[in-house]
Symmetry: C2
């Protein structure tokens, strides 16, 4: 006999990308930053002593909240620090969505969203993207008419890298009666020419929750640190009621603070990724792998049918190159490739040449 709740018994659970135990892999499967965190992060890390860990951490991560609020031009009350961005998504659903209410997402998007709704046992309304991964023409009106409590959009989109403009998010938040969560995990890699910035919208819309993470832009995936930005009335119940009281630890609070303090350093890495991304897309297209423009640190490439995306994923793995393959719908003929260092990108392209000519 199983003790699981009925809804839990039914679900499969999220499968994270492979984290190989052995060295020597070119790892382009989980969108980690190819460049290291800032020297200030290393400096803060070197200063931490075991004795600092003897006591509980500051439950509200006050120092981080202060620095984050300064960086983003908001108040500390607009910020909630979380154990990775994933915790913020879970908290948002736990706090705001009842079992008889629905969450709207687009399909495809981050595969964790449906799983979080399954765990919480609320309903899910999936809106299919078109064949070229754009939202339906009438999406804004569609959102006006749904009675869902929450809509979660990842922007830039995963796994395509396409971007919804600030003005579009602004309109959506106005049109939607529930909470609009914009998962900006990859926002640091958006082309600067877009002038994308939704943070000022938080002062205008009481129903807008932005998700940020240090995993990608700040090269700290191993740290598990994310945060939400929203109106204090959205932040407060997650901060004071549903969050585990010491959700972020001493080390992650310190290093996350250091990372934001040395943001200028991180920005240089973002620019390097953007430049590499352009070269990577060009090279992939030249090899016959149709690849859409991307505002993220990954690209989505279509694999010729005669080869097949899953086969290509396997062949690359045999050459110690990991990319991500999703066995579902529109993604079944594509692979997602994280933008690596210049060296890694070259190794990928060289391997692809070998495989495609074989």
């Amino acid at each position: 006999m199983s003790f699981e709740r009925k809804n839990i018994a039914k679900i499969q659970g999220y499968v994270p990308g492979e984290q190989p135990k052995s060295e020597g892999f070119v790892k382009l499967n989980t969108n980690e930053n190819p460049y290291p965190a800032s020297p200030l992060v290393a400096e803060y890390l070197a200063k931490i002593q075991a004795e600092d860990l003897r006591r509980y951490p500051t439950p509200m991560a006050d120092e981080f909240r202060k620095i984050a609020s300064q960086v983003h031009g908001v108040d500390p009350l607009n910020i909630i620090p979380t154990n990775g961005g994933d915790e913020l998504l879970r908290l948002a659903i736990t706090t705001f969505v009842d079992e008889n209410e629905a969450v709207v997402i687009t399909k495809p998007s981050y595969s964790l969203y449906p799983i979080l709704t399954q765990i919480h046992n609320c309903s899910l309304e999936e809106i299919n993207l078109s064949d070229n991964f754009t939202l339906p023409e009438d999406f804004k009106n569609l959102l006006k008419n749904v009675t869902a409590k929450m809509c979660i959009l990842v922007n830039p989109h995963a796994p395509t890298g396409s971007l919804l403009k600030t003005s579009f998010i602004d309109e959506l938040a106005s049109n939607f009666s529930g909470i609009l969560v914009v998962d900006e995990a990859y926002v640091d890699f958006v082309d600067s020419a877009e002038s994308y910035n939704c943070i000022p919208l938080v002062k205008k819309h009481k129903n807008l929750l932005l998700l940020r993470t240090l995993s990608k832009g700040y090269s700290l995936a191993g740290l598990r640190f994310g945060y939400g930005i929203a109106d204090p009335e959205l932040i407060a119940p997650m901060m004071h009621k549903t969050r585990d009281s010491y959700n972020t630890d001493y080390v992650s609070q310190k290093l996350a603070t250091a990372a934001l303090l040395s943001r200028e350093y991180a920005k240089e890495n973002w620019e390097r990724v953007r430049i590499s991304r352009q070269g990577l897309i060009r090279n992939l297209c030249d090899l016959g792998l149709k690849t859409l423009p991307s505002h993220s640190n990954f690209v989505l490439s279509q694999v010729p049918l005669e080869l097949g995306a899953e086969v290509l994923y396997q062949k690359l793995k045999q050459k110690n190159i990991l990319v991500r393959y999703f066995d579902e719908g529109l993604l079944r003929d594509k692979i997602r490739i994280s933008v690596g260092s210049e060296r890694e990108n070259k190794l990928l392209i060289a391997s692809l040449k070998e495989i495609l000519n074989a």
Copy 2:
């Protein structure tokens, strides 16, 4: 208009003990270990580089699970690592308790339990302890007859420090049709003469979940690392379905592993705490503060009515000594005091003498 779910809107949230920002406090309010973590923890910490944090951590914390299983004589599949013990409690409720099901706890106990049931919107059945904090005579039969899905007992008990014997837990697990969670956060401080050890029971009872934490016994409250020990069928759905996929970070996995590897060092601290505890209880009783025996790293002391527990808590705070006061039921005339270092305990006793003679 608030977006909160109805059950969330109603709750107050857990209030953690004060974490003073200024130095100079004798901090006896949140049961931290007065002694530092082992030299091996410091050694592992010194080796960690920022570059180690660039990638995602091992999602299953394999190395920690292996070491923990060796330390406890179980299989790695019996272990789930969590972001502090609190996460394990939340996961257990999320995974196993439906909204129409109940959780049984005793009153008083760890004040987080009722809040977790409120967040999850399931029912709570509180069983009052007697005036001397013992379980009702018929508790075992009581548990046989309740239809609750889960019972959470903290053992040694918080905030009294009393201990239920291994044989009693064994019988309870047999009698109860739901999941018996035994929160062993303070287990490391149990008097050795008790030979308390529930881990072998995990092989016998498929419904027994033990909670451990590195916060107290291993002097790592700032790290946020706990773990569960149970039958693999209880562990698996929490591990693979309801847990955030990277719930523990790279640093905490490494240092938690180091802490268990150097357990012999921690054991010396546990013994020092036990010895100090005896002296502290004696001194408190001598001052007229009736204090029960304790198997934890804290004691619960009754404050003479003419003084009042809340007043004493405030007076100690004025002297820069923090203890814990709970404004509820049986606890209203008592203060909970963490066992500090010998120096801290002496400062406490000296301050109490001043206050009581004033």
